[in-house]
């Protein structure tokens, strides 16, 4: 590893927040409220906590084998073939989620901002822009994430301030009317909003001070949980659970509700969309980078940037396959949920457990 390829722990935190927070933030309050009602926040928190073992496992892997990157460790622990099977599954997940992101971005931008622009153009220019940054190395992506991170936090703060006059906290009542039987499905739903932290697998080897990485990645996921819960409460206290169940994009709808007296601030959805496109960009770029990286490892080339542009048409075509917005979430969403679960939760944990056993064995000898 070269000396200048270093990422700070702050950047890791930023990278996690900006990668995980993406399209899910617009729809999460709605889908979770349909399942759990007013207690949706429990599902959101539990969904986030479910990620903890795998985040810890990812961090521990790199403590077992310091100074090696993920692919080397995987090869040592699982062997080349098993690793490749996992990697191909990851590819399915990554490409599907990129298509989902692009399609959603296209649909929402078209609906809210650019009515007559063809969706194909929106999608392809978005993928092109992302592919530019995806060609660079991880430290550049994490620097970019570090700059977008305050924008995300700013967006949330902005959202709180403008919605404050209309907030009625009694809408969040009654609390704790939980139906335990519905919890697993709700966690499954919120799971999708937490995908994206697999970027840790590819960024931790380049971190300067590895002792603090676990802490900052946990702070990162903590921030994400906090933001998701906050957005849930903002939308819930504005709408109440019945009406929230109607809204497909509650976060944007809440912004449309803003109507401060004096006609000074209203119709902020355009502004919010501009923020949101940046946020989505920040979550798409690392995923794109990982995809290129994995492809280059499977085919054993040195440079991942070769694969970025050839991926573009695949993402583009796949993103235009679903016939309508309902199909988008049902078909692509299902692929992502299952392959994502295997590649970001099961794979790191298996690698960690097997690696742990192997290193113990070697120590004993």
């Amino acid at each position: 590893m070269q000396e200048n390829k270093k990422i700070s722990n702050k950047q890791i935190r930023a990278l996690m927040v900006s990668t995980i927070i993406g399209i899910g933030i617009l729809t999460l309050p709605n889908v979770i409220v349909l399942e759990l009602g007013n207690d949706g926040w429990i599902g959101i928190i539990l969904g986030g906590l479910l990620m903890l073992p795998s985040i810890i496992a990812i961090n521990k892997i790199f403590q077992l084998y310091p100074d090696r990157d993920f692919f080397e460790i995987g090869k040592i622990v699982l062997g080349k073939w098993i690793l490749n099977i996992f990697l191909i599954l990851s590819l399915v997940y990554l490409i599907a989620s990129m298509s989902l992101i692009s399609r959603n971005l296209g649909e929402i931008t078209k609906a809210f901002l650019l009515e007559t622009t063809p969706i194909e153009v929106i999608i392809i220019s978005f993928i092109l822009t992302t592919s530019y940054i995806a060609r660079s190395e991880i430290e550049i992506i994490s620097r970019a994430a570090y700059h977008i991170y305050p924008i995300i936090l700013g967006f949330i703060i902005f959202l709180i301030i403008v919605t404050l006059p209309d907030i009625d906290l009694s809408n969040a009542l009654p609390a704790f009317q939980l139906d335990i039987g519905k919890l697993p499905k709700a966690i499954m739903i919120s799971f999708f909003s937490y995908l994206g932290f697999e970027i840790l697998l590819f960024s931790i080897p380049y971190v300067e001070d590895k002792r603090k990485t676990l802490k900052s990645s946990l702070v990162g996921i903590g921030l994400v949980i906090f933001i998701n819960v906050l957005i849930f409460f903002i939308t819930l206290s504005q709408y109440g659970s019945h009406y929230l169940g109607r809204q497909i994009f509650p976060t944007l709808s809440v912004i449309k509700e803003v109507d401060l007296p004096g006609l000074f601030i209203e119709n902020l959805d355009g502004l919010a969309m501009a923020f949101w496109v940046l946020i989505v960009f920040a979550s798409m770029a690392p995923i794109y980078y990982i995809t290129g990286k994995i492809l280059s490892k499977i085919i054993s080339t040195k440079d991942h940037s070769l694969f970025i542009l050839p991926l573009l048409p695949i993402i583009y075509i796949l993103s235009l396959m679903p016939q309508n917005i309902i199909q988008v979430s049902s078909s692509l969403g299902n692929i992502i949920n299952y392959s994502g679960f295997v590649s970001v939760v099961i794979m790191p944990i298996i690698i960690y457990i097997v690696g742990y056993l192997k290193t113990r064995k070697e120590e004993k000898k």
Binding site: A111, F112, P118, S125, P174, Y239, L263
Partner: protein, 375 residues
């Protein structure tokens, strides 16, 4: 290699990102203030859509035209079809982002399906601001919109109707209703309100309220009933309350109001209690000849008189809501749902039958904090 890739990028991005499909100069849009919806009784489609929008040429110092508001109507099967239809006739298309008021005609309001259709269209639309104020016309929505230019109050920028509806902060004669809130209330208890509007010869007046149950108009309340309702819901801000004390009219200017709800469970039966606390100023009484007494006794009696007025006002309103309309416009159902979810689960299904029989006790506590300059 790198150079070529970079060049390719610049080339593709330059083609894609120059120009804009959606570019429309701002003066080539029409920004409607209000939409009126009526049922069309003549031949053709179901609705008569009326749209009013400002005449940009009549605004500003060097106005070239006199007529400030344009009102256009068409017959169409839906609001959006109507607006498309009108766009063909008018110089520019409509842009509904700044739409402020939806006026429903009386006939539309009585037709549950029509109300559902119209509101769904507005709430589903990406562009329309969901804070659109709803208002019910006494007769036809078209008459109201045509009457607006004649009103003595004129607001060109934000629209006359909207500026009137927004004034509900200083009065309890009506309570303005937004689209979101209307549907939200409907979702919970199936009852929502919207103010009424009437166009007289040379003026326009917003007053009272219309009760909607399951998206259909079931009845009206007047200004006094609306005041009582606002007091019970705790949303009344400022109001003038006239009552009689010692045979003279006593005017009390209310400056604040808090209402507290309470559900009392007594062996299986439920009772509801509303505590209303108002505070305000003595606005007008009568000049007395003798040296006025400085007694607190008198003040307390005055408070009592005000309380009695409000109490009878509220009781009449409750009678009207419970017995005549059977509509929970007070939001009692919502309160029970939020704070007593277990009770709500039991009674939710039969709420329509329970509400008319519900024992509602109202306690009014009026406080005179100030009494003006004279004793």
């Amino acid at each position: 290699m790198r150079k070529w890739v970079l060049l390719l990028y610049i080339f593709i991005l330059a083609i894609i990102s120059t120009g804009c499909w959606d570019m429309v100069e701002i003066n080539q849009w029409l920004f409607p203030y209000s939409i009126g919806v009526d049922i069309n009784h003549k031949e053709g489609d179901k609705y008569l859509i009326t749209i009013s929008y400002p005449n940009i040429n009549a605004i500003g110092k060097n106005a070239t035209q006199k007529e400030r508001v344009h009102v256009v109507s068409t017959i169409a099967s839906s609001v959006f079809e109507g607006s498309k239809e009108l766009s063909n006739r008018l110089p520019y298309p409509f842009y509904f982002k700044h739409l402020r008021v939806l006026v429903l005609g009386k006939e539309v309001a009585k037709d549950e399906k029509a109300v559902r259709e119209v509101l769904d269209g507005l709430i589903r639309d990406f562009i329309i601001n969901k804070k659109v104020r709803l208002v019910l016309a006494e007769d036809k929505a078209q008459d109201i919109l045509l009457g607006v230019p004649k009103a003595s109050r004129q607001e060109v920028i934000e629209g006359t109707l909207f500026s009137m509806l927004r004034e509900d902060r200083t009065t309890t004669r009506y309570t303005s209703q937004t689209l979101t809130e209307f549907v939200r209330k409907m979702d919970i208890t199936g009852v929502s309100l919207m103010p009424r509007i009437v166009s007289r010869e040379d003026d326009i007046k917003v007053f009272g309220g219309a009760i909607f149950k399951n998206y259909a108009l079931v009845g009206y309340i007047g200004e006094l009933e609306n005041r009582a309702l606002a007091l019970m819901r705790g949303i009344a801000n400022r109001a003038q309350i006239d009552s009689v004390y010692n045979g003279t009219t006593l005017t009390y200017s209310m400056t604040g109001c808090i209402s507290k709800n309470k559900l009392i469970k007594e062996d299986g039966n439920i009772k509801f209690k509303i505590d209303i606390e108002t505070e305000g100023t003595l606005q007008e009484y009568i000049i007395q000849d003798k040296k006025p007494t400085d007694g607190t006794v008198e003040l307390i009696e005055m408070e009592k008189a005000i309380e009695d007025t409000l109490k009878s006002n509220i009781d009449e309103t409750l009678e009207l809501l419970q017995k005549k309309y059977k509509a929970d416009a007070i939001g009692i159902g919502e309160y029970i749902m939020k704070f007593h979810p277990k009770v709500w689960k039991e009674i939710q299904k039969d709420w329509d039958d329970i509400f008319p029989e519900l024992d509602i006790e109202v306690v009014v506590d009026a406080k005179i904090r100030r009494r003006g300059l004279t004793k």
